[in-house]
């Protein structure tokens, strides 16, 4: 069986203007929603607060839950249904970390039993103090930063075969970050600065592959974060893990296309760049579709059947895998072409 017949030649690169427009639009929407929502909505992992997951024996109304919480002097910032409606499970959130409250679980159980008349079982309690939340936020950002750094170095070294220069890239990024950190710049801006520095250095050294890969990567992460912001989903530690996985996955896709481009450049060095790019994308198309397909199958299985706790996590993967596949075809390769045209 074969989806894609050999010798197929879809003009992917020719559609790059449309693709760039779509991408820019998506990124713009992501950034605008992020600005409107004042950054991603941090979950308690990063913002601090308390989260209680309660399971009721029978159906109850959210109003009853809220009034029950009031009787025990708990002001919930949000009560929402969790998982399938048939489970009668609810998430209760408060903004403050209730460290001082003794026997929170028991008090909630009795308070809710009194107001709803239904037995309540506390299934999960998570409390993160503000200080820890801040630490976790920093740690997560550092994780993103270092993976970006290492991947940048690896790509520039591996693809351009200039490990010496890739060491310079790393040094430049680290120097920039070190200098900025002296001025107490917040970490998101540090990352932004690091990315800009690496792009400038790539430009300087003419690392076109690395440039394409990094742009595709920024594209994917921005859009995934944007989608999270649009759906008003919470940003938690597992979501950061998902983002890093998406980074890995997206690069994986991009690298395979790039590998083929390099191979074809040697093979058909007389052909124009555009033809080679299209040929390479088409040759790897079968693999791209298959791998994305199987990955999507399992991610969808996880999304549908995995249960509420990893629902958002699998949602992030779902969005990321789709965007990552798209970007390796429509974003990463056309950048190589743009580079080529610039030099003429």
């Amino acid at each position: 069986m074969q989806f894609i017949k050999p010798g197929i030649n879809i003009d992917f690169v020719g559609k790059r203007k449309i693709a760039f427009t779509i991408s820019l639009l998506l990124i713009a929407v992501s950034i605008v929603t992020l600005i409107v929502n004042q950054g991603p909505r941090y979950g308690i992992d990063f913002a601090g607060g308390t989260l209680v997951q309660v399971k009721f024996a029978k159906a109850v109304t959210i109003d009853r839950i809220k009034s029950g919480l009031e009787t025990i002097d708990m002001t919930a910032s949000a009560v929402q249904q969790f998982g399938h409606a048939a489970d009668h499970e609810y998430l209760i959130r408060t903004d403050t970390a209730t460290t001082a409250v003794e026997g929170l679980a028991e008090r909630i159980e009795t308070g809710l039993k009194a107001s709803t008349g239904v037995d309540a079982e506390t299934r999960r309690v998570e409390m993160v103090g503000p200080q820890v939340g801040k630490d976790l936020r920093e740690k997560a950002l550092f994780a993103m930063f270092y993976s970006l750094l290492f991947i940048t170095v690896y790509i520039s070294g591996r693809f351009e075969m200039k490990w010496g220069k890739s060491a310079i890239v790393a040094a430049a990024i680290m120097a920039a970050v070190y200098l900025l950190s002296l001025f107490n710049v917040s970490i998101p801006f540090l990352m932004l600065a690091a990315l800009i520095v690496s792009l400038v250095v790539f430009w300087f050294f003419e690392f076109k592959y690395a440039m394409g890969a990094i742009v595709a990567l920024i594209h994917d992460v921005t859009i995934t974060v944007g989608v999270f912001s649009i759906f008003d989903k919470e940003f938690t530690l597992p979501i950061v893990a998902a983002l890093l996985t998406i980074i890995g996955y997206s690069l994986n896709d991009t690298i395979i296309v790039f590998d083929r481009i390099r191979e074809n450049l040697r093979k058909y060095h007389k052909e124009p760049m555009m033809t080679i790019l299209n040929k390479s994308v088409n040759e790897t198309l079968s693999r791209t579709i298959l791998t994305s397909g199987t990955t999507l199958i399992v991610v969808i299985a996880l999304f549908v059947l995995g249960g509420g706790i990893i629902h958002d996590f699998s949602f992030a993967l779902l969005v990321g895998v789709m965007v990552g596949t798209y970007s390796s075809v429509y974003v990463a390769s056309p950048i190589l072409l743009a580079w080529q045209n610039r030099r003429k």
């Binding site: 050999p6 028991e106 820890v132 740690k139 980074i247 890995g248 191979e263 693999r287 199958i297 249960g307």
Partner: protein, 516 residues
Amino acid sequence: MIAAVILAAVIYVIPTFRPGIWPHKKINLGLDLQGGMHLVLEVEADKAVENTVERLAQEMRDMLRKEHIRTLAFERVEGIKIAVKVPDETNIASFDDLLDKEFRDVRVADRTVKDGVLDIVLDLPDKEIERIRQLAVAQALETIRNRIDQFGVSEPDIRIQGEQRILVQLPGIKDTQRAKDLIGKTALLEFKLVDETHDVQSALDGNVPASSEILYETKEDPATRRTQKIPFLVKKRTALTGAYLTDARVQIDSQYNEPYVSITFDKKGARLFERITAENVKKRLAIVLDGNVYSAPVIQEKIAGGEARITGSFTTNEARDLAIVLRAGALPAPVQILEERTVGPSLGTDSIRMGLLSMCVGGILVVLFMAVYYKASGLIADFALILNILLIAGGLAIFGATLTLPGIAGIILTIGMAVDANVLIFERIREEMGLGKTPRAAVDAGYDRATLTILDANVTTLIAALVLFQFGTGPVKGFAVTLSLGVVASLFTALVLTRAVFDYVLIHRKIRTISI
């Protein structure tokens, strides 16, 4: 080599399903899967420094009185400094003398003499403060570990995190509140004199003398299970704390056959205790634990030798609990719960069920798809995929890593991505065959050309996974572990295992065509 790897994986995986077959460990389940409690505590180490200074100030005050050195002012400032005003030259001389003799490790932060009055601010050297803080954290860790050991939790994980935080993980705990109480209790033992010059009743009505406070003794009648609160009016000033304890044991009074707790003070504590008891014979000394009065016996005589008894109408169990808390020691400083994550056992079971279900469904769909799309070669890839999962499980067991819910997600993701390597190879083989090569040549060329691509593609994922491992905590770390194992396992199955299968089929079975 392949057989050895598979065998090793099987050996390590089997104990998970049939515990006790051989002495290898089974795969650890994370707290999110088996239920349990994750706490991050912060030791308020500054408090320990303050306590040290407070003790020092008290000692100094006593010494000054004993040596008849006059002071105009003596106060603690900013919690960690002692400010003293000393008048007269001779007085100043003997004060300096006292400092040199008895308080050698105290630092003079500021010293001015104006109009014959010495203004001196004393504090502790930075090194000493740092030492106290570190000691406080280490001691808190030890104390909490002791308490949890006595609480009886299997495989607790207690460790210092950062500078003054303690991470406590208690898998399988059901009574989380009890565990929290036990861990969070400061267990600060204090001896305070009962204020017998004032009336408890009038104090309860609001006339509390400035130097005294009301503390309660809570008594539970074992028969009626009713609690009773008995008020005590005690001096605010702590005569002695449990910090000077070296041991606490339950003993039985031979005369009345009643249990009591025998405590032993260190040298300094013994000296202090002797003086307090000598000065307050026939008065009551309240034994206060975390602000609650335990008992308030009447001092019969001066007690020398550094041994004391805490008597009361204890049951043997109560006496034993008291001894445990005293022996495990007070936390050197209060702890604050910074982060708490509790997962009920029922939720854990549900999570496992759903995780495994989605894993099976996703896996089966992928296996079917590969078999349909690549026919016989697809079956080889499926075989590799199943071994892949086995290898991840084996890897988890070998490294003693913890399987978490995101970890299961990591395995599921690996299933999707593991076929990637095979897809790359198979597509190459198809291309080569399309160019008219023989199956063997096509397979060789396919593997050769795909290998570098596969390595490149996986290294980046591995980088992301390793960084996640370095920075991640708890479940995220679990995810990073399974993802890394997945990448390594899929490299092995795709580049070594399926290759071997193809070679076997094509060379030894002399099969001329290839079903792909």
